[in-house]
Symmetry: C2
């Protein structure tokens, strides 16, 4: 039986607070699980079930504003109708923002060539109850100019071995960062960092954030990043910023 | 034994999402419960336990930015030290914003003479995952000018029998509203309503919000409120806006 297949690209956001991350894990509520359930329900539960391929993983508690995935349906449906059907079926902490019919060659992971992450830091002695799930809280005063200066040392092609969680096993730890920004959001009283790059290693953004925070307080020298990069040793970067301040903002593809 | 007692007034905020409301209820996580636990822990668990008197109840899922309560300690402690001790002991969804040592005559409920509530409405076809717990979602377009005009009919001293949840048994349903405002928050793409008054009946704000929303869509006449008030019949106001968009903003006292 040779059924016609249609490949769809979806762009979606989620509040990661109540998810054990993006990827399916046994007995855990994950974004992939609720999306796969919604898609298979709309497709009338085919066997084998339809699988979802995301641009990459996000950890438990991490949020997304523009995560991307693809999947194949054994029939064709208008993107707007699919968007409506999915959003009507999904729990309220995931929202499909757009649906596109794409070429069968499109691959959400392999074709992604550029990702952007944001990290929100709230300040003050105690964390604001309304921000506890949406920012990393850091009570010490931060010098944004120092963090901006240090952020420039992350830009470019580097071996990020010092910035990858132990336990990660990838062929190469070389990645390219295109842009790092650090700004004070006066209205929200937050420090916001953004990172765009070719791709990121496991926990890389959260480790870079932690180093920039230590530089922002003056605990760490403003020119410490070249030394950390050169050392290729996870111990040099020390801690990892909490997951709940991290947002996957967007994933870019060649056709965008 | 005649111990010295010190009365403290606390002003606090909470994210109501994971609370079954303000007031203690058997087997439920309430704001009063976690506050009472923290206070009694600091006071080394006296018998009988120290009780907390709040300005009033809030329902499950309702938030507060400036709720007020009082309690007595069998000893004296500096307000700043008490604030720090309480915040260190409380769960992250409640935050004490200020602590004041007050006269033994101060009463958080009886002396409150003015309360302000805010209601946030998010728009669009589907609810934003990050707003699902923090706004009431209403997808139909709203005419803010109509809502503003109608809101003026709520101001003043009225019998609010048509705006009280059935099941409420108070001596009088007469209350005074000082101010009603309706504004579009362009940046957040929300409609924000504020109500200040001498006090509010059970569900009164949420029922007033629901009526203003119906007026905003044009379903209900812009001058319908005087008719609803005069009718003294809960059926005239129909529905109740969801709890998660409601915030107790502040409670004022004579000494403020």
């Amino acid at each position: 039986m040779n059924k016609e297949k249609s490949r769809y690209k979806i762009t979606f956001e989620y509040d990661g607070s109540n998810f054990a991350g993006m990827q399916v894990q046994p007995h855990q509520r994950t974004v992939e699980l609720v999306l796969t359930n919604a898609i298979n329900k709309i497709a009338k539960k085919p066997q084998p079930p339809i699988a979802l391929i995301a641009s990459g993983r996000t950890d438990a508690k991490v949020h997304a504003l523009g995560q991307v995935a693809h999947f194949d349906l054994p029939f064709s449906i208008k993107p707007e109708a699919l968007l409506k059907a999915l959003n009507s079926s999904l729990p309220l902490d995931v929202l499909i923002k757009s649906v596109e019919l794409v070429s069968p060659d499109f691959h959400a992971r392999y074709n992604a060539h550029h990702k952007r992450y944001r990290y929100r830091v709230s300040q003050g002695e105690f964390v604001d109850p309304f921000k506890r799930n949406y920012t990393g809280h850091f009570k010490y005063p931060l010098d944004v100019a120092r963090m901006q200066q240090a952020g420039r040392d992350l830009v470019g092609e580097h071996d990020f071995t010092s910035f990858v969680a132990s336990g990660s096993h990838v062929k190469s730890n070389v990645r390219t960062i295109y842009e790092v920004s650090v700004n004070r959001d006066e209205q929200r009283d937050e420090i916001v960092m953004e990172f765009s790059g070719s791709g990121f290693l496991y926990n890389q953004v959260r480790i870079m954030v932690a180093v920039l925070l230590e530089i922002g307080t003056g605990q760490r020298a403003v020119d410490d990043i070249p030394r950390i990069l050169a050392g290729k040793d996870r111990q040099l970067a020390r801690w990892t910023a909490p997951a709940n301040g991290l947002y996957l903002v967007s994933v870019d593809y060649d056709d965008d």
